[in-house]
Amino acid sequence: MLDISPTEWTAILLSLRVATVATLVATPLGIGVAWLLARRDFWGKAFFDALIYLPLVLPPVVTGYLLLLTFGRRGLVGAWLADHLGIVIAFRWTGAALACGVMSFPLLVRPIRLSIEAVDRRLEQAAATLGAAPWRVFLTVTLPLALPGVLAGMVLGFAKAIGEFGATITFVSNIPGETQTISSAIYSLIQTPDGDTAALRLVLVSIFIATAALLASELFARRATQRLHGN
């Protein structure tokens, strides 16, 4: 039964690529946003906070449609990107990565934010009296101490990106080899008369990937905690 066909492999590899790129691009951005939310007060913070978490509560099809309106070829940003930089992301795998990145962003940001909030500010003060400018305090004290949260956020974000369906299919459709991820492949297969076995194979694969990701995050978190507490 675990005889995975070439089209299924394509979908699996595409999903991994999309989720990896989405996570890697979103992480630095997520760290910046988490730091802003954890450590700074600014005008409109409550609104900004809500905006970040919006993809979590909006119907995914709404997020996907908004992405299409913004980043589609005739969209405000999409048209500009196509005309000036020659970049088209609608109906491409990069568009799938964007959709997954947006959808997983709240899950990525939350653990990072919590772990930055948990960093003892008195240690940051101590670093300042030792001559560290704010950005160096962040890089040498805050970020290393928040590392378990960063890893947890990355894994959660990755897992969400792997499984993302609604926004992705709305924004970039379901094109085999280009935008057909595991989720959309399963969706297509269960609508095909003889697709059950293949769908089940992909279901097993996605269970495997999700479990592996969770185990990896557990391992990272344990290592990071050990490192921090000096054992």
Binding site: A126, A127, T129, L130, T140, V141, N231
Partner: protein
């Protein structure tokens, strides 16, 4: 020489302090809540005075009239906190080296060796702060502050979290620090006995005001 002339509203009361210290160790004496920590936090630059000036060796660090406030990381003022505040993710060696790296100073193995010997922390270098006793942690904190080559060293009840036995263990190191390191210090304490051993000059603080100033003798009159 340290010149302080500041006003700061602190919740219930207002801290008003004006003094000039030239001693090697200025003891800042007073009960808890007298405003001692707020005062040295202002000297460190961690807290901004509402009004007034702070100057060290002729360089103005704070001046509310011109809006000048040099941030802590540009002051070159070392700070030893009551709770050590060693970085838990770095070992002792990296903690000691932190200030040198942040101030982009060249390595000075001779000074490093001297400080490590002075504080007797050579055997702790590869350990993490989590594996140190309270007294050891505080000694490493002294070393970390000293090795950033500060122009002034602030010590906020550095023995406050230790029991009597540990205090007796650490005091001789502080006396050696005073006599050998050659860095002026401001030493905060509510323990007159401790200050009699260490301070060369006393600033007495009560309810946010300076009530006495002078040699160690002023401690006996209290």
């Amino acid at each position: 020489m340290l010149r302080v002339d500041v006003v700061k509203k602190l919740g219930e009361f207002t801290l008003e302090a004006s003094f000039t210290s030239e001693g090697r160790v200025t003891g800042l004496f007073g009960a808890s809540g007298a405003g001692k920590t707020s005062l040295i936090n202002m000297i460190a630059g961690l807290v901004k005075p509402d009004r007034g000036t702070i100057a060290l060796d002729g360089e103005t660090l704070d001046d509310s009239a011109t809006g000048l406030h040099i941030p802590p990381y540009r002051r070159r003022i070392g700070y030893v906190f009551q709770d050590a505040r060693l970085f838990p993710h770095l070992d002792v060696r990296q903690n000691l080296d932190y200030g040198r790296r942040m101030n982009r100073l060249t390595e000075d193995p001779a000074q490093q060796k001297r400080v490590i010997q002075l504080l007797d922390i050579g055997s702790l270098l590869d350990r993490r702060p989590g594996k140190l006793s309270g007294g050891e942690r505080q000694r490493v904190a002294f070393g970390r502050a000293l090795l950033s080559k500060p122009k002034l060293l602030l010590l906020d009840e550095p023995l406050g979290a230790l029991d009597e036995e540990r205090k007796r263990e650490i005091l001789p190191y502080l006396v050696r620090l005073r006599d050998e390191a050659g860095i002026p210090m401001v030493y905060v304490s509510h323990d007159a006995a401790e200050l009699r051993q260490l301070a060369t000059q006393i600033v007495m603080l009560k309810g946010g005001r300076i009530t006495a100033f002078g040699g160690v003798k002023v401690l006996t009159s209290s």
